[in-house]
Point group: C2
Chain length 180, copies 2
């Protein structure tokens, strides 16, 4: 059995997941390792010890994000002023997360079965959460899967095109759904 992790190692792992997620959103999943290391305030060696390949890191961030996104749903519902506002904020998190998700396909070119497994996990975990937010917001004319997939599709393509801002379109979609 593996020996227990040292406290600083465990801490760094969490720091790295958060930093990598942030950098992925800002610079894409192909961001230089150096940038992630700098964001996390650690050396490059530390990243390579925790995540030997880029795919390892992307997968770990992916799982971490799915989990965070899932937990954020109920939390936002209880914290925000209205369910509608909670939904909007949740969708914003979800879009951040999609950056990682899309990068995953490239990072995992050699192992597509692993990708499908993660994708199934993603749907199982987030579908119900999204469903709760929709129900609380009084939206009944769309299924969670359809909304998530629609948002996902709006986000495909390169992010460096100033003429196309997925978030703007998604906001409009929500306006439509919420009858704003």
């Amino acid at each position: 059995m593996p020996p227990r992790k040292r406290a600083d190692a465990a801490r760094n792992e969490q720091t790295l997941l958060a930093a990598a997620a942030e950098v992925f959103v800002r610079s894409g999943v192909d961001a230089p390792i150096r940038e992630i290391a700098a964001e996390a305030g650690v050396g490059m060696g530390t990243i390579y010890r925790h995540f030997p390949t880029r795919a390892d890191l992307v997968v770990a961030v992916y799982r971490h994000q799915v989990e965070a996104c899932a937990e954020a749903g109920p939390e936002l519902l209880s914290k925000e002023d209205s369910p509608q506002q909670a939904l909007r904020q949740w969708v914003d998190l979800f879009v951040d997360f999609l950056v990682t998700k899309h990068g995953l396909a490239n990072a995992l070119q050699s192992d597509s079965s692993g990708f499908e497994q993660l994708h199934a996990y993603f749907l199982d975990r987030l579908g119900p959460v999204c469903g709760e937010l929709l129900k609380a917001s009084g939206i009944e004319n769309i299924q969670p899967y359809e909304l998530m997939r629609g948002i996902g599709n709006l986000c495909v393509g390169r992010g460096d095109d100033a003429r196309y801002d997925p978030r703007r379109l998604i906001a409009l979609l929500l306006d439509g759904l919420l009858g704003a």
Copy 2:
């Protein structure tokens, strides 16, 4: 109108297209520019003058390959001992070509309309050629499009997996078609 090209420039362009095609098959479309330059026996500057971006080069090779593949059909039919042998050799060329084709999608991320245009050209040009080879080989239970697409699908995914050899499967497919 543009002035006529110098003879050496025109020669180099052809040399580069052939060299790049070869290197793409051997090392993938992400092969270092240096490797292509070495294969062609020219300097790197020459490549950049002819093809400012990697996408330019890949597109040019693509068109060149489609043309070569199309011309090879009738030629193989008249040269090889049997139509069946011509078909097998043609399919082999076709598979080489698919490496470039798959790389194209990545190289052209920003310009998907250009991709579809090229794809249409590809189908128009090669479909009939493939049809001729099939007819000459006495195969009537499959359409050119279906065969080409099947071969294409067998080739998706990274080439660096020793456990999966598309050419082996394609050979088996042809065995089945030809009743060997």
